[in-house]
């Protein structure tokens, strides 16, 4: 029997120390480049933030494992993480801290109000800011040179969603005529509702009512009751995760079964956690949202990494993964961690090695013009792509009843 004594422990500690120090010694020649990753990982939006961070981590690990930024002598990318605490103030205070730590660029934000405030704060220090999700079109409409949005804004998503809804409805012999819009009362949901109110009536849909609710909401009974009273053909919800789960479960509880639930940029409708935990409430819910390109071989690899340890596949992960790769490509071409040079390289980006269904990147006034949403539907415990037809893997089930 061996006994553990002081010498054994010292020997072990020395070996561990050497192991930890070794990679640092090998790569000591190129200083690391600090990248700010901003996500809300506490508060109402914590789940989205965690999955966004996961995507960024996967990308950073991949880049570093492949030898870092080659034009800068293999410089590694180092994450400076900031918790936006699910509110704009949290976002801006983390931007200030990241400025203090000397980040070269910031990726993330998730919710529109957080992105609006934190990209503005970043612009004061000329820090390039890549918005991962925030869909409010004000984000790229302010003329901020530092702000880039890789994904689609809600103007784009809504028009695609409406286009596809009309196709869907025509194919079903115009099954749906009446609509109730349910939206969270913040920047994202309220903006969405306003767009829908102007765009749906000319296409033959009658909007019976637009119901707002706050985030977080503790009870959706009243919203469900109103839907039951109005008895619409179609419910269009734009809410974050917890509220939509609550609403769909309350609708199930109250036996409210419209012909379709057609979500737009919903926080839950294309979320595997929702589908796995509440399969009955989730079944046949449609969504028009961000979604990774299933045709790209790298998508499956990232998905496998993301799903390790019982986690779920949410759009936040591929979006943030792609945004970090986009940034790394810009740094590679800039050959420098200088913020101005990175901003220029981003503005001129034609990056196409991402896993979103977008094609080559092209920024006009900060907006990636190729960005496009995808229509999905929950079918028997799986999330299927129903539009665009180029890579749809299922036919839409509509009307659902």
């Amino acid at each position: 029997m061996t006994s553990i004594n002081r010498r054994t422990i010292l020997r072990g500690a020395a070996a561990t120390g050497a192991l930890i120090a070794a990679p640092g010694l090998v790569r000591a020649q190129a200083p690391a480049i600090k990248i700010g990753i901003l996500q809300p990982v506490t508060g109402a939006l914590a789940q989205d933030g965690e999955y966004g961070r996961l995507g960024a981590e996967i990308a950073l690990n991949e880049i570093n494992a492949a030898g870092g930024i080659k034009s800068m002598g293999g410089a590694r990318l180092q994450m400076v993480f900031g918790d936006a605490r699910s509110n704009p103030e949290g976002g801006t205070s983390e931007v200030e801290r990241m400025q203090g730590e000397g980040v070269a660029a910031i990726v993330g934000g998730f919710a529109s109000p957080i992105v609006l405030a934190s990209s503005q704060a970043a612009s004061r220090y000329d820090i390039p800011y890549i918005c991962d999700v925030g869909v409010s079109d004000q984000i790229v409409g302010r003329g901020l040179k530092n702000t880039f949005r890789f994904g689609p804004g809600f103007g784009n998503v809504t028009s695609t969603a409406i286009e596809n809804l009309v196709k869907l409805n025509d194919a079903a012999g115009k099954a749906a005529k009446t609509v109730v819009i349910v939206h969270e009362d913040g920047l994202f949901g309220a903006g969405m509702a306003k767009l829908l109110q102007t765009q749906l009536p000319p296409r033959g849909f009658e909007i019976l009512e637009t119901i707002a609710h706050p985030t977080p909401s503790r009870d959706m009974s009243n919203v469900a009751l109103r839907i039951r009273a109005l008895n619409p053909d179609l419910v269009i919800p734009s809410s974050y995760y917890a509220e939509f789960v609550l609403l769909s479960r309350t609708m199930q509880q109250q036996r409210i079964r419209p012909k379709g639930i057609y979500a737009i940029l919903n926080g839950a409708a294309s979320n595997f956690r929702f589908v796995k935990e509440f399969p009955d409430a989730a079944n046949l819910v449609m969504d028009c949202n961000h979604w990774a390109d299933p045709r790209k071989p790298k998508t499956a690899q990232v998905k496998a990494l993301a799903e390790q340890g019982g986690r779920f596949w949410l759009y936040n992960t591929p979006l943030n993964y792609s945004c970090v790769l986009l940034l790394a490509d810009a740094i590679e071409r800039a050959g420098s961690a200088d913020r101005g040079k990175i901003t220029e390289a981003l503005a001129a980006s034609t990056f196409s090695d991402h896993i979103m269904p977008y094609g080559p990147t092209k920024f006009v006034n900060g907006q990636n013009m190729g960005a496009a949403p995808v229509n999905t539907q929950v079918q028997n415990g799986d999330i299927k792509v129903i539009f665009p037809s180029e890579f749809a893997d299922a036919k839409a089930v509509f009307p659902a009843v």
Binding site: T42, R85, S217, R218, S221, N222, A242, Q253, Q254, E277
Partner: protein
């Protein structure tokens, strides 16, 4: 206009939520009736109780409805201890000091929870969380129905305790005339602490009834304490029947104004009532004349 069954559903929802509001207000009104101070730590204590239910469920796998039998005595003991050994000594016999001490306690509790659990919103998932009972055209949520019945049972027990036990008589005596009660041999410090303990125990029960359908974060108590305060004012400060009736009224008002004015404005009705009561009937529905 909305159909009758929608109105009835909202009414039933309001009554069921209102019963839990009443339970939360019971503790507040009891402490006010006896100690003649507003317990500012009421909301924070409720938050702490809700986190206790969360821990009981996630760590020990204890169902919220079983946790009630553990947490109620625990919170009674906590309430008793805090009043007897912290609030009372710190107040130095001056009632207005109690106000400040409870305010300080609420800040300590809230921030301790914030440090321990961060600001995340959490909930627990129980199999019966979304079960319903069908009554005609109405689908009543099972956990809410349980909460409704349980709240009435607790109110009844509390009333029996106050009306028919020696402790209850002592509590009422202290509430009416502290010095007189002390002269007749009632241990006033002990009765104060028992009252505080009862208030905390009511909150523990409310937390167990709320958690199956509700969420918790370190600031959640504030949302309830404002409502509870309105109920206490509406029902009459210190009145148990007032808290019960006031709770039901506020629950219904909140539910119906949510239905007719929308979720974002749902609480407007409550605060309108608060202002109107203060203007026209400051003693409340069941309050004694000042």
């Amino acid at each position: 206009m909305l159909k009758l069954d929608i109105f009835l559903s909202a009414l039933a929802n309001g009554l069921m939520t209102g019963a839990v509001y009443a339970l939360i207000s019971l503790g507040l009104t009891l402490v006010y009736g006896v100690l003649h101070i507003i317990n500012f730590a009421h909301g924070a204590t409720l938050t702490a109780a809700m986190f206790a239910v969360l821990i009981a469920h996630t760590v020990f796998g204890l169902d919220p409805y079983l946790a009630v039998f553990v947490l109620t005595p625990l919170f009674f003991a906590l309430g008793y201890g805090v009043q007897r050994f912290v609030i009372n000594p710190a107040s130095h016999g001056n009632d207005s000091n109690i106000l400040l001490v409870t305010l300080g306690l609420s800040i300590i509790i809230e921030n301790a929870l914030l440090a321990g659990f961060r600001s995340d919103t959490r909930s627990i998932d129980v199999p019966y969380g979304f079960s319903v009972v069908e009554v005609g055209n109405l689908f009543l949520s099972v956990p809410k129905l349980v909460a409704f019945v349980a709240s009435f049972v607790v109110a009844l027990l509390l009333w029996l305790l106050l009306a028919h036990t020696d402790t209850g008589k002592a509590i009422r005596a202290v509430a009416k005339e502290k010095t007189g009660a002390a002269l007749s041999g009632v241990n006033v410090d002990h009765i104060y602490a028992v009252t505080f303990g009862l208030g905390a125990a009511c909150l523990a029960i409310a937390a167990c009834l709320l958690m199956p359908t509700f969420l918790v974060n370190p600031r959640i108590g504030n949302a309830f304490v404002l409502v509870a305060f309105t109920i206490v004012v509406l029902g009459g400060m210190g009145s148990i029947a007032g808290a019960l009736v006031g709770g039901l009224i506020i629950g219904v008002v909140e539910s119906l104004s949510g239905l007719y004015f929308g979720e974002s404005l749902g609480q407007i009705g409550i605060f309108l009532i608060f202002i109107l009561v203060l203007l026209f009937r400051p003693t409340g529905l069941f309050g004694a004349k000042a």
